[in-house]
Symmetry: C2
């Protein structure tokens, strides 16, 4: 159900650069790495996500006849080059951190080693896939940490930025520890557990609110959550008491109520009391509406009797920081390490690895960013996932990825679990890497002189 | 190339509500309208976009056999209901503001009139499509207003939220007045003019920066923009002088340079002088990197000699406000007007129309929000676009939509053209509409009592 994305969903410059590489016969091996440069304000960690979609894209990489014809006719490319694209496939190797892994600035989460043209062409879509899911997983993990033990459901499809954002944010938030999503396609595609209630329009389409509740419960005897804020929240809660008795005679139970406006904590207190006094202690309270990790934390700390939260727009647009300062950069070409030195955007050269140490309690103690082959204590985080353009293993189930992500979150030291900024946890840069950077600078210093 | 989106890319509750409507035989005509509730901080207007994708979606609405089989087996729906979905098509009518139209809070930009189940099912995707493109067009229009006469290019694909966001933001920003995009697929699909330069990796893959420039120019003799900030911006500009003379002998011209880091205005001043003194007055300066309407305005006001801007992430994620507070709400069912009264989220009932008056200078003078049929002075903004599930006219070309959008921007009074908040321009609510709201309140007041 994931429609194949056109290879032409890329920046024009990838193709113009490819023609220049082609003309010049530049076809040596290139090494690119994807990393995030900076930690956004109020953030303490990132969670890697999006790898499986990148691997799908690389395995399927080819230009269709229609795309090739368009390129040939667009007036920018010569025939020899366009013909060369017809047989192009991705034949490279990929190393990556598993999805769900916690990481920090400057730590690569993906490395592509491939002939220059292949490794260059895929830049745009790789960034597009990794930055979005990583951003959403990182944000959703914060909501998870803010609401231990609460049911969390992704409600963000409608204000996600398009179809793919809606689908992939259901995936990324589930990886990060959400319990499920309202997004039916995510359920069909990945067995993400589905949750849903009813819309205000359902209540409004009925002439009578209580009739709407009864109709819904009878159509869904096994699971019904009643939206009670269309007119008057507490009045609606009171009306549920006799309805529940009536439905119970037919073996139908009301599962939960949903609050979607106003002071959620205050309404929850009053509604809980009404339900308890009416013998509906088993009916849970679910809340939604402009929620994010900050609001959820406040509601949870206030002790509001809310059992679960629908968290949408602000989570899956990462509303307080809707992008990551990330890059996919050339680190080596033709066997020589490379480095960008642009102001404020300098990068570490070469093929890198991250080693992670844990303390006695199993919490993160320190990361070292060094060169591949410079083995350090701890576990290496980048692992081979693709060789010669083919996956080395079947994709994990999303459920397995989620288990890994939860284990990763459990390794976070207490300060990093906060929704506000903690002292930064950053990888130590090894002497070997610093020495290589200095060597590249001195070489390119000569080259640009 | 726009892959059909699954109808199951929707919220679960649409389907659970549909089953309840089905069980109860609720199949009267429903009227839903899409509108934005509030103007975000620092914004003064919205620009409507996304209608054509909504109409594509409605015309193609059907469930595949695979989707129906999944629904039948998922354990939530009974056979009679799932069978009823097999033949479901969208058979309703749609009225809408043309894409590119300026609008304000509470003004509907789309109305769906259809049997209840059809009108309900399409809610999620309609919001998903309209909110995103409207958000991007509204943001991009602000960049256009901040940079009169400058070349503006969408560079946002890589950090757009997924594939569809990247593609549709190229479309929406072009509607709003951008000159083009780096997104090749947008060029193939809609003839959006394409622009591109080169990446830092192109420079780094060469052992020598000046050789990289020469290679690129020779591969693209008709159009080349040199990225000059990889190592030292001004040094690179100086190196272009002799290269340009050498290339000129072969009839090859360098079009432009691109600055992508550091103090863009300062670099532009120095680079302009270097190029001018070197006889390259015709070479233009193009800037990119973390730009939005605020930074572009500052650079333009400072008189920096920059001819064009690549504006990406912050524009197409609408980074300072990455979502609109929008809704698709039931306004009428079975001939009776409906209204939601939830705290802070009350809506105007009934089928509405917006009449717009212009002043003598052709600028916006006032909008009136009233009921359909209550004709007021000025032009009605909502127009019929679909009847019985079929478009009433072929889609406009994107170029034609862009012309309409520019005419709309020309109607904005000066204060609304500012990137910071102006006194709000809001539609006046007619007495007829207020009376209907009061009538609905009194009726539903009884119903919920």
């Amino acid at each position: 159900m994931n429609p194949r994305t056109s290879i032409l969903l890329t920046d024009l410059y990838q193709l113009t650069m490819l023609q220049a590489y082609f003309d010049r016969g530049m076809e040596d091996t290139a090494v690119f790495e994807f990393f995030v440069r900076k930690m956004p304000e109020n953030r303490n960690f990132f969670m890697a996500a999006g790898l499986e979609q990148v691997l799908d894209y690389l395995e399927d990489l080819r230009l269709t006849d229609e795309e090739l014809a368009w390129l040939a006719g667009c007036g920018r490319f010569h025939k020899g080059f366009v013909d060369s694209l017809a047989g192009m496939r991705f034949t490279g190797d990929v190393q990556a951190m598993p999805e769900g892994t916690i990481f920090f600035p400057d730590e690569p989460i993906l490395r592509v080693v491939a002939p220059l043209q292949e490794a260059q062409l895929v830049e745009t879509r790789i960034i597009n896939l990794l930055q979005f899911q990583t951003m959403v997983a990182s944000k959703a993990a914060r909501v998870r940490l803010a609401a231990p033990g609460k049911l969390l459901v992704d409600f963000g499809l409608r204000r996600a930025h398009g179809a793919e954002a809606g689908l992939l944010s259901a995936r990324a938030s589930y990886i990060a520890g959400f319990d499920g999503s309202s997004n039916v396609l995510a359920g069909m595609q990945w067995d993400v557990p589905l949750y849903g209630t009813m819309a205000h329009s359902f209540i409004q389409a009925h002439d009578n609110e209580i009739q709407a509740f009864e109709d819904f419960a009878r159509s869904h005897p096994a699971a019904s959550t009643m939206l009670i804020d269309t007119y008057d929240t507490e009045a609606a809660a009171r009306k549920l008491i006799p309805l529940a008795r009536k439905l119970a005679q037919d073996g139908i139970a009301i599962n939960a109520v949903r609050l979607d406006s106003g002071d959620l904590a205050g309404h929850a207190q009053r509604v809980r009391r009404i339900l308890d006094e009416g013998g509906l202690a088993a009916v849970k309270i679910f809340a939604s509406g402009n929620l994010d990790e900050y609001r959820v934390r406040d509601i949870v700390s206030a002790g509001a009797p809310i059992d679960g939260f629908g968290v949408g727009t602000r989570m899956n647009t990462s509303a307080d920081k809707p992008y990551l300062d990330c890059a996919y950069k050339l680190q080596e070409y033709g066997g020589a390490a490379r480095r960008k030195r642009s102001e404020g955007k300098a990068t570490w050269p070469g093929r890198k690895q991250v080693f992670r140490s844990l303390d006695a309690a199993g919490r993160l103690a320190g990361d070292v960013l060094t060169l591949e082959g410079d083995t350090r204590p701890g576990a290496p985080l980048l692992q081979p996932v693709m060789q010669g353009g083919r996956r080395l293993a079947e994709p994990l189930t999303l459920q397995a990825v989620r288990v890994h992500a939860q284990a990763q979150l459990a390794q976070l030291p207490e300060p990093l679990r906060s929704p506000v900024q903690a002292p930064a946890f950053a990888a130590a840069v090894s002497d070997a890497l610093k020495a290589l950077a200095a060597e590249v600078d001195s070489r390119t210093g000569m080259a640009v002189a």
